[in-house]
Amino acid sequence: MKTICFYFQLHQPLQLKRYRFFEIGNDHYYYDDYANEAAIRRLTDMCYLPANEALMEMIKNSNGKFKVTFSISGITIEQLEQYAPEVIDSFKALAKTGSVEFLAETYAHSLSSIFDEEEFKLQVKKHSDKVETLFGKRPTVFRNTELIYSDEIGDLVSKMGYKSIFTEGAKHILGWKSPNYLYGHPYNSKLKLMTRNFKLSDDISFRFSNWSWDQYPLTADKYIRWIAEAPEKEELISIGMNYAALGELNTKENGIFEFMKSLPYHALINKISFSTPAEVVEKIKTADVISSPYPVSWADEEKDLSAWTGNDLQNEALQKLYSVGERVRMCTDRSLQYDWINLQCSDHFYYMCTKHFTSGASAHYNPYESPYEAFMNYMNVLSDFLQRVEEQYPTTIDNEELNSLLKTINNQEMKIVKLENQLKSLKSTKESEEKSKKTITPVKKMVKG
């Protein structure tokens, strides 16, 4: 029996404000609050709330048979908490139905899986903690930023305790194989791989409203028929997309919500079920292993990392940023930690990509006029950030020395606490002794007297 695994990504970066070089050292607030609030509010009204409502209706009308999965970056959760708390409430309500699962990912929607393993682990943990506190259940399945995946990342994620990982059904890792199976990892047998069917996914997110598409208009009937007509043994259809596909990329007026709402009926009469990733891992057996020695992603035609690390600008920015990772993790300054997370967001590097501008047609939102401007602004902010890190821990001390110094300070602190406690207990014993002495002396006196 076939099963569909729907999952949606919600990620909205914290945009940087226009930050000129003469502000370096003077201004330590980097974000464009107005633009960020506006973006979140717009998405909330166009997509998040109406789409959540539609999904809720689908779950209720199908008696919980419709299942859906979300992956929300930490940065987005924080922004929703600040600007649109009602969206968090509506996700909580969805979580209560039991038909909804949340995935783990990096807190900052970052590229740390490629550049900084330590940071990667911390961020994933931070994200899972956050999801657990909000929605009551700890994620067991992982998806990386923009579906970036390699064998190495898979192994790492499995060792961190996640059962399965989402990856792109890219031609160069699948070859002739179909994405509609559950796959295994080449050397870590515990990990399962779910490969996104990008054709069926893009049919909804990018082609649904496209009048010049030869399959326009797409109906639920037709869409499910495509899935039903796939070979019998292809059991798992993973359809993943940006949540903005419901309401923003395809507007309400184009009928996207009606399309979604009719899906469960057509699927169920065709004996196609819906599953969450955790159920998939339980129910379905792996068909084969696939190996991906080099990182893949779901971006563009290339499906690789070139959208973030394809030119000198991006490489310099990334290298400068991650060079201080170890140091920042040592510090406890909260605002520094906050900026560290937000500066890692992969979108900042995406804006510096030169290949989109040269190809002319970029469907992606970019607040900057050119990759050079994106780079300039980011580097100015980063320079200020690096200066602050430097002020906390000067580079004249190397990491190991710093670590031992910090340890000494930390140990001394603990020692002081310990000694203080000892002192206290000694004092109290002395006091009690004195008290007892005092109580004794009168007796003696009395005796003497």
Binding site: R20, F21, F22, I24, N311, D312, L313, N315, E316, A317, T354, F357, T358, E369, S370, Y372, E373, F375, M376, M379, N380, S383
Partner: protein
């Protein structure tokens, strides 16, 4: 296809961008195998490159019939015109131009520059054009810039061949809006009479549509290109401690020199190890020297005076950043030349070249904060320099006159109904 072009200047004796563009375009077009170009200029010097086109000096075209022997013509003006051609053209004098002062050959003595009696020279140029037009043997007429529009129109009226005019600049660019009514009248008449109008940028195209009331379908943009520099490797950047940021051009209101000085003072407030160079001369030079002194940056701000020939490329190659903050620039070839020698460029959004350049920084001419920020980034962040340096050079090397020439040819074909 035979084209009769009217121009005003041609390398190596040039006074501005018009000559460079005329040369590049005709050379690019000459690569089309069936393209024959006759290029008329008021006064050739005899050392022009005539390998790919035929130069006709208007000053050796007879406009008044004079009796001369073959040998006499050959000995006196044979360097500029073949005596046979002289006598051939003499047969096509159809009007009485005796009111014009001519020499013993019946030719007009043009100055070839932009003299005070420019309007008179323009109308004399018309007279020479009439003789060439009567002599015929061309399919299309192409006039470069307003000085040659009257000649083009006259040639069109005589021959009945279509006229294409090429707008390299309008008086709105030169005067910041205070147009000279006489110049405007000539420009407007040229555009009205033309079968098609070519502009060097969309910016100029919009001016032609809005200010000269031309129908958009009649106006096409063909962006300028840049000719490859011969033996480009001789321009090297010497290693030096300080970074050099350069402004190069006429120091005049149109080029926005004051914004460069202001941006320099912003950068110098925060940054060491940078120097600013203002190369060129012009009516605002003294004012700029005063401004630099007033901003207290004179120790880091240098003037070179007018640069010519190779000095220009040397200066560009030695720079770390080239900046063109023009207030209004129909195209602006110099950033492309800077990028050819690998120097990152910052251009104002009010210049035509900003429309086609991708690997250059674009700011508004008045936005000195953005300009200062761009300068700072290029000198402080190595990846920024490297990326602009490599990708910029690659980009301009692919902006060729051959492609521009093909676009002009397409317009010819359309106008003639040959396509």
């Amino acid at each position: 296809m035979k084209a009769l072009m009217f121009g005003w200047e041609f390398p190596p004796h040039i006074l501005g961008g018009l000559g460079t563009a005329s040369y590049g375009l005709t050379k690019g077009m000459s690569l089309q195998p069936d393209m024959h170009i006759k290029f008329v200029i008021p006064k050739p010097f005899g050392d022009e490159d005539t390998n790919f086109l035929k130069i006709i000096g208007a000053n050796s075209v007879p406009v008044v019939w004079k009796d001369n022997t073959w040998d006499h013509v050959n000995s006196r003006i044979g360097k500029f015109i073949h005596p046979d051609e002289y006598f051939h053209l003499r047969n096509y004098i159809r009007y009485d131009f005796r009111r014009i002062t001519t020499d013993e050959f019946g030719c007009i003595n043009f100055s070839g520059v932009y003299p005070n009696n420019l309007l008179e020279e323009i109308s004399n140029y018309e007279a020479a054009a009439s003789v060439i037009a009567h002599a015929g043997d061309f399919d299309i007429i192409h006039s470069h810039d307003w000085l040659t529009y009257p000649a083009g129109i006259f040639a069109k009226q005589i021959s009945g061949k279509p006229l294409v005019i090429h707008v390299h600049a309008t008086d709105f660019d030169r005067s910041r809006g205070n147009v000279n009514p006489e110049v405007y009248a000539i420009e407007k008449r040229g555009m009205d009479e033309a079968n098609h109008i070519i502009t060097v940028s969309n910016l100029t195209r919009q001016t032609v549509i809005d200010k000269y009331h031309q129908h958009p379908s009649k106006v096409t943009t063909v962006h300028n290109a840049v000719s490859p520099i011969e033996d480009i490797d001789r321009f090297k950047k010497t290693v030096r401690k300080d970074k050099v940021i350069t402004f190069l051009g006429r120091i005049t209101m149109q080029k926005g020199p004051e914004y460069f000085v202001e941006a320099a003072s912003k950068v110098l407030e925060k940054t060491d190890g940078v120097r600013f160079v203002m190369a060129g001369s012009g009516d605002m030079m003294n004012q700029m020297i005063h401004l630099a002194a007033k901003r207290n940056i004179a120790d880091k701000f240098h003037f070179t005076g007018f640069l010519r020939g190779d000095q220009v490329h040397e200066m560009l190659a030695e720079s770390d950043v080239y900046i063109m903050p023009s207030v209004s620039e129909p195209f602006g070839i110099s950033p492309l030349e800077a990028m050819q020698v690998g120097t990152p460029s910052i251009v104002s959004k009010q210049s035509g070249c900003a429309e086609i350049l991708e690997n250059a920084i674009k700011t508004d001419y008045w936005d000195i904060d953005a300009m200062a920020d761009a300068i700072y980034s290029i000198v402080k962040y190595p990846a920024m320099y490297k990326c602009l340096h490599e990708k910029g050079k690659y980009e301009v090397d692919n902006i060729t006159w051959e492609k521009a020439g093909q676009k002009v040819r397409d317009i010819y074909n359309k106008v003639l109904g040959w396509a």
